[in-house]
């Protein structure tokens, strides 16, 4: 039998390659001539063709999302810098301390610090700054409306051609940033800001939400040009006046906006009346705001705002001036000559359940396979940025091994740092944003504290989508199943966590 099979062994490889579609037409024709004359090879070819058919069905899908990755990379590369290089360069020129060149436990190093986070173009996009603070202005006019009529406040804000005010950013009571916001109706904005710890100054100018923006760092002659993708199609959301109207309408019409009087106090020598508002905004997962204003004029004196996603972070706005003269050149999106340009694209699409799963997955990679203790973005950032993962890499034993390991760790640190940057800049924020943006009727809960990534049949998050009868339950292996009832997990945390504002 071996004698009979032996001649066919010559054809074994060509037949395999023919089944795999890897032969030239001539080579395949030759192989097929043999196949037609040899029953054993014909059967083998048939079986191989089935194998190859099954394999071909598993071709990796490439969708718009994947193609966008390549486009972005190509664009970043050809515009002078790869994205990671650009981000590293941004950090470097902004004065970040150089990372240690070696060290076996790179995962506990501090790849970022808060000033970098606050500076990160994607995590602290210019549009978000405007929405954050301007939302406060708009809501002031509703909140203050409990004294004068609401219409008295709507009219001036809608008719205002320009707005200017100061702001101070705090994290856990520590002032991190301060600056001035200017808005030229309907949609152009400018933020002049200073980072307190480094005294680094920068200017962000934006054309509209979802539109092009630039971040200028005059000291370093650096310009980060952001051309966002997947911006909302709602035209109202693309200009600041539209956003203001949305906030006003939400505050007027939505029953879930809570208003509590805070009484009176003196601010900067002026008598002020205060209110605490809480609710949800057009692009805001949930907020708590203290408003203090002049009851005589209806104008705001001070607005303090936190959001549910990052409870430790607070912005205080003051010194409001309306309808002042602002030169149009202040809002120019042209990069001044002599600036180094770095192009980026931030994703502004609305996050969904997949975003949250991706956040869990990537957090697990960064943390050593565990879930965050809570879905508080601030605390998650603290853990990722300051503390590193709970598990540490094993230290090498021998001197030689240690040197090799250090080099590898350094390179590994680069890869992990890239992931951290992505997590901080977009991946993490989007997923947590989806979770905390769920309405109360979704009955969302989180139970991932102490759970290991991959643990089967351990529910970590569940919620009921709008108009759905069943719950969507995400398990620790990141699978999703539906359930008529919510899982019973002691100490599961409601999401978003009940607000406990300290402002």
């Amino acid at each position: 039998m071996n004698d009979l099979l032996h001649p066919c062994e010559v054809w074994a490889e060509p037949i395999s390659l023919a089944a795999a579609g890897c032969l030239s037409p001539d080579e395949e024709a030759e192989a097929r001539r043999h196949i037609e004359t040899c029953p054993a090879c014909r059967e083998r070819f048939r079986q191989l063709a089935e194998v190859c058919g099954a394999l071909a069905e598993l071709r990796l899908p490439v969708g718009d999302e994947e193609l966008a990755v390549v486009r972005r990379a190509a664009s970043a590369v050809s515009s002078g810098e790869a994205r990671r290089s650009a981000v590293e360069w941004i950090r470097r020129v902004l004065g970040r301390r150089p990372r240690e060149s070696h060290g076996p436990v790179f995962r506990t190093q501090r790849p970022f610090d808060w000033r970098w986070i606050m500076r990160h173009p994607a995590s602290f996009a210019s549009a978000a700054v405007f929405l954050f603070v301007i939302g406060g202005v708009a809501l002031w006019f509703h909140g203050g409306g409990t004294t004068p009529a609401l219409a008295d406040f709507i009219t001036p804000i809608l008719e205002a051609k320009t707005v200017k005010f100061k702001f101070v950013g705090e994290i856990d009571g520590r002032i991190t940033m301060r600056g001035v916001v200017m808005v030229l109706a309907p949609s152009r904005g400018r933020v002049e800001q200073e980072e307190i710890s480094t005294k680094s100054k920068s200017v962000e100018i934006t054309s509209s939400f979802g539109g092009k923006s630039i971040l200028l760092v005059p000291d370093k002659k650096l310009a980060v040009v952001n051309q966002p993708i997947n911006a909302p199609r709602d035209e109202a959301a693309k200009n600041f006046l539209g956003v203001l109207r949305s906030y006003l309408l939400d505050a007027r019409d939505k029953a879930d906006v809570r208003r509590e009087p805070l009484g009176e106090k003196e601010i900067d020598g002026r008598r002020a009346v205060g209110f605490r508002l809480s609710g949800r905004g057009l692009h805001d997962p949930g907020w708590v705001m203290s408003l203090w204003g002049d009851p005589q004029t209806g104008e705001p004196i001070r607005i303090e705002k936190t959001d549910l996603m990052c409870p430790g972070k607070k912005v205080t706005m003051s010194d409001f001036v309306f309808n002042l003269d602002l030169d149009e050149s202040l809002f120019s999106l042209e990069v001044p000559t002599g600036y180094k340009i770095v192009n980026i694209q931030s994703d502004l699409s609305l996050p969904n359940e997949k975003s949250l799963i991706e956040t869990f997955r990537q957090y697990g990679r960064l943390s050593g396979g565990i879930f965050p203790d809570t879905l508080n973005w601030h605390l998650i950032l603290l853990q990722i940025v300051n503390q590193g993962p709970k598990k540490q890499a094993v230290r090498p034993k021998s001197e030689e091994r240690q040197n090799v390991n250090r080099r590898e760790m350094k390179r590994g640190g680069d890869a992990l740092e890239t992931l951290r940057e992505k997590f901080v800049g977009e991946l993490g924020y989007r997923g947590i944003g989806f979770a905390v943006d769920l309405p109360p009727e979704a009955d969302a809960h989180y139970a991932g504290k102490g759970v290991k990534l991959g643990a089967a049949d351990t529910p970590i998050f569940w919620y009921r989508p709008k108009d759905a009868k069943k719950y969507r339950v995400i398990y620790a292996d990141l699978s999703v199943r539906e359930s008529a009832t919510p899982p019973h997990v002691p100490n599961a945390q409601p999401v978003p966590a009940p607000a406990s504002p300290k402002i």
Partner: protein, 196 residues
């Protein structure tokens, strides 16, 4: 994706002259192949993104040295392989715990969304491929999952074309034997139904 050779030659020439738009167009033409190759090698979505980025960066810098002796896609796969090998050990070392966690079901981690929807047959096929020796597995994944040509695989794995053919043959033969042993690759429903 079929790429018109003349168009591609012109684009390469313009990109070599430093025209960014031409390079972006080239990348666009090879985006699907590059992404699949990166994912097949990296087996991790985010590493694949890094590989794509690093490959394009190196391609942009090295483009003046591209002499057209091989297809552009083959050249690109060569760079991809270089980046893959360079980052491989550090990538694995960078996430010891997470890697272990993900390794338990690396296929799910590889294609999280689609994997959940995949049929049981597809899962078994993936597992069969994963059980192959690495040199065989990579050839199969690049050929079938990434859609690479034999020349591109040779560039990606930095081995002679004959070696790629031999590995592919042996890999397919092993998978065929698995199929015979446990009926791993069930015929498609249409095939089953057409049989008496």
């Amino acid at each position: 994706m079929d790429v018109h050779q003349d168009d591609q030659c012109e684009l390469i020439g313009r990109a070599q002259a430093g025209e960014a738009a031409a390079f972006e167009r080239l990348a666009e033409q090879h985006a699907a192949r590059l992404w699949r190759g990166a994912l097949a090698l990296g087996r991790d979505r985010h590493w694949a993104e890094d590989l794509v980025q690093e490959t394009l960066l190196e391609a942009w810098r090295s483009l003046p040295r591209f002499d057209g002796r091989c297809r552009f896609s083959t050249w690109l796969y060569g760079i991809l392989r270089h980046r893959f090998l360079k980052g491989r050990r550090r990538h694995d070392a960078a996430r010891p715990s997470a890697a272990a966690a993900l390794e338990e079901d690396h296929l799910a981690a590889w294609l999280p969304d689609r994997c959940a929807e995949a049929s049981e047959d597809a899962r078994r096929v993936r597992q069969a491929v994963a059980s192959l020796p690495e040199e065989h597995r990579l050839v199969v994944e690049l050929r079938f999952f990434a859609g690479a040509t034999l020349e591109e695989i040779a560039a990606a794995l930095d081995c002679p074309l004959g070696t790629v053919k031999s590995r592919l043959h042996h890999a397919l033969e092993k998978l065929r034997q698995m199929k015979l042993a446990v009926n791993l690759f069930a015929p498609s429903r249409e095939t089953r139904e057409s049989k008496p």
